[in-house]
Amino acid sequence: MSTTEWRREDRLPHIYCSGCGNGTVINCTLAAVDEMGWKREETVFLSGIGCSSRAPGYINTDSLHTTHGRALAFATGVKLARPDLHVVVFTGDGDLAAIGGNHFIHACRRNLDVTVVCMNNQIYGMTGGQGSPTTPPGAISTTTPYGSSEPAFDLTELAIAAGANYVARWTSYHVKELTKAIVEGLQTPGLAFIEVRTQCPTNYGRSNKMREVSDMIEYLRSHAMLVPKYNRLIAEGKPIPEGTFTVGELIRRNRPAMGVRP
């Protein structure tokens, strides 16, 4: 098969703004499921609410576009009723970490056998750019007009602390690496969490001095640091540049999982 066969071509072009990273994340996820050789009839995509959560609507499999924050609750139901199905969850930073925060940590604790792809654009994109739990300090949003004064969640650390079996982070610029990480996630029994730092040019870039899509991509590219390099700098006691985030595999372990395919 090819990714074309996983898409609902009749629904394209999609509703995302020009330059929105969500479309890229869909490409990478479909390339990953295609590489797994899964059957469309045995694969289910779920999501909550948000721009990111509209992704399953463009995919040619059974899917559930659920209520805000609850995709993982629905995914738990799907997995326990039909553990033979492959389950992939698309979510956003607001969907996963704000309203859906408890579902997230408990799905990780149970180590539910699903793969969660979070499109983290550090903002509520769909509703007009309100701050989310991942909006970085200092960032302008419609709810933080003078710059956010709160610390932000590191979603990967949350997933690791709560018990997920596989955790990785990449960006919408690192398309090949991201696809590989999603494949790793799909292969891992238990909860696989892949955070994708992505661009929302409309509601984040424009209010944060990144007018062009290319400015946002440049930001992602230049602030991403490979995990080994980060660890080396820390070990050597060297300073980490402001705004740096790690990319790569962050944990892989073998805790008991729930809902694994028989």
């Binding site: 898409r7 394209l12 072009p13 999609h14 995302y16 703004c17 020009s18 330059g19 929105c20 990273g21 969500n22 479309g23 890229t24 490409n27 990478c28 390339a31 919408s172 610029y173 398309v175 090949k176 696809t179 899509v213 290319s214 991509i217």
Partner: protein, 90 residues
């Protein structure tokens, strides 16, 4: 193989311009029928996938297609195959 941009899907974000190692995509200057400035292709026959896909039987490079958020980049078969004189500068 021939590289094509789907004018109906492309939203003119120019991410392809940013990633192609051969700079095949160039920022466009003219609005199309849908009011979008889509990139123009500069000697697309230089594309790795255009040249070598038939030989290897799989997608090569493909970074533009992967990053294109609007699923607008594809390759079509050329029939009959037109040989091109290709100069690739490294």
């Amino acid at each position: 193989m021939k590289l094509v941009i789907d004018e109906i899907r492309c939203k003119g974000c120019n991410l392809c311009v940013l990633v192609c190692p051969y700079r095949i995509f160039q920022e466009g200057t003219e609005l199309n029928d849908r009011g979008i400035v889509t990139p123009v292709l500069d000697r697309p026959e230089r594309c790795t996938n255009c040249r070598l896909q038939p030989l290897y039987g799989r997608l090569l490079c493909g970074v533009c297609q992967m990053i294109c958020p609007d699923q607008a980049i594809t390759w079509v078969d050329e029939r009959p195959f037109e040989p091109h004189k290709v100069e690739v500068e490294f």
